[in-house]
Symmetry: C2
Amino acid sequence: MPARRAPADPAVAAGVSLRMVARVAGVSTATVSRAMNTPERVSEALRERIASVVDRLGWVPHGAARALATRRTGTIGAVFPTLTHGDFARALEGLQGELTRLGYRLLLACSEYSLDQEYQQVRKLVERGVDAVLLVGALHHPELRPFLDRRAVPVLDSFVFDRDHPGASVGPDNRRALFRLTEHLIALGHRRFGVIAQETATNDRARARLEGIRAALAQHSLAVPPAHFAEGRWTIREGRELFRRIATTDPAPTAVICGNAWLAVGAMLESQALGIDVPGALSIAGYDDIEIMAELPIPITTVRVLSDEVGRRAARHLVARIEGRAPSDAFECEAEIVLRASSGPAPGGPPLPPRSGQS
Amino acid sequence: MPARRAPADPAVAAGVSLRMVARVAGVSTATVSRAMNTPERVSEALRERIASVVDRLGWVPHGAARALATRRTGTIGAVFPTLTHGDFARALEGLQGELTRLGYRLLLACSEYSLDQEYQQVRKLVERGVDAVLLVGALHHPELRPFLDRRAVPVLDSFVFDRDHPGASVGPDNRRALFRLTEHLIALGHRRFGVIAQETATNDRARARLEGIRAALAQHSLAVPPAHFAEGRWTIREGRELFRRIATTDPAPTAVICGNAWLAVGAMLESQALGIDVPGALSIAGYDDIEIMAELPIPITTVRVLSDEVGRRAARHLVARIEGRAPSDAFECEAEIVLRASSGPAPGGPPLPPRSGQS
DNA sequence: CGATGGTATGTAAACGGTTACAGGCCGGCC
DNA sequence: GGCCGGCCTGTAACCGTTTACATACCATCG
């Protein structure tokens, strides 16, 4: 029996490899590897001996080596447009938490709402080694899909739901959510609508929401006149400014729908500053239910998307696909319309008859 | 000359390795490697020939293999308590952006304000292979430092600034920032202070802020009575509730300092709901300057920390250390006190003489 | 009692790059 | 003309795991 080495002093742990563990334990590297990954295939005694050596030496497996041998990294990559948006932050947190629980790590990147950047980031992520990729939206650089497909990397779109490609996306049906919200406002008697949207150029979610609004209006032969439409960035200040522009027209809209939470908050604050009676003279509705929506003096009607749930489902879905299992979660995340004090009957005219009304 | 292969059809790119590129280009793997990493060491002609083969074959380097060979991953790991906090989200975005610019990737994890979780996440990150680690705060699991030190992984604390260990942290001096804010309020004549703090158990930033407040008060022989002190989570609702509890005591405080942005917003909203005259009867101040602070009907006095700058500097600092360069940025991030309408002279009593006043 | 089958372990070849070292070639200089 | 030194390129070892395959051992069974 070879002399056992002195117990490793804490300073050594730097370059301990599996090989050393094996040598010290007096077994082969294969056995150590098995003891760690498939303990049931190793005898009780050895397993314990190895375990003790492992933590005496402070060995930590070398991810790159393992990745090279297994062709798996245990990492998924996500590209978000931004992180300062409440819903993305929540989704990210949900995603991260669930991945941790499932034993995966998260490699994160931002696209800043640019399709080119998104594509470049995806390339970097793949190069760095990710087992799957999570994106936001369904609109991507034309090369992106082919690139991932060639390498057989699973992808998932989030924050959208595409009925035509089941399994390719997880999130709310943006179009339908705003369709329903708009119908509700129409039923309250509103006829003159204003819309403050996010920029739709590279944002298919924003576009889908807009389509939902337009479709609902069209069903009642209504439309958003140019003077009552504005597109902009997603800050409170922008919301104020665009709201002022729209609300001070004549005739003014009786309902203003905002494409996201901050725009809605801005609209609400500006309406108060302008002394507009909400919801008496004008109703305001938003999208995404962040806490402030419910806490303002006049709480804001909005669409609640459980963003953290989007993140968690995305995690489960991708991991299932990586591991060759069938994903079990539903892909569509319910978008609930939360009615609050900021919306009410249109001033003047009586509300329409229920749903069937043709106007 | 061996017959040249047919141009790769797009469907092949799956398993192209550097070896294949070399074979197709008719050179050795070493040359291809050099052509990619140190192009100046390869002749013009070869470089071009190789480049063309690379993109004809759609080769993407295999990160794990490279990492194994170079003992570098080009990835840094970050562990944040949460991501739904405005300042962390901004810092994360800054961090991510800067890392991308520097050619690094970001591996992200959350601790949920638990030191144990933070430690576990760090272990996972190291196992997965990160060249450096970014943390929040200076308070960590006792094993964390030794663990990273043994492996010579550079670490940086963020959102704190520790004068005693220069180079170990980047962020504002929380204690001093709130010291100054409190002094300002004292100079306005305030004597009865209320404080709504974040939970300080595992949050040394919150604790430092609290110390700053107490130190400033102590200089004037003042203190926060138990009835005017509350600790809680960081939601608007919590801010409302704690504010109500504190503001409805008798005698009530004339100034309430809140440990973060959402608590301050909650306090402000609740003060309006209670019909308290702000700043006439009571001043409110917060911490962290998110957009809503400036946009509420009564804008809130606060401490502005450039969180995205914290993230960017952290990125530059860590990359510099990884690459063996001396970091060039300053470690302390200025925390600016932003005076707004929510704070004003104390009701009744005249303000103190300037700074030297002993009370 | 030898063939058989199962279990626990070892051997060694990948995995896909990087890089120290070793030529080969060529021009310039004595 | 031979030697020297620089520039390019090739050879092959190595990075730290995993895993297919081989092997040794042991109990069981015909």
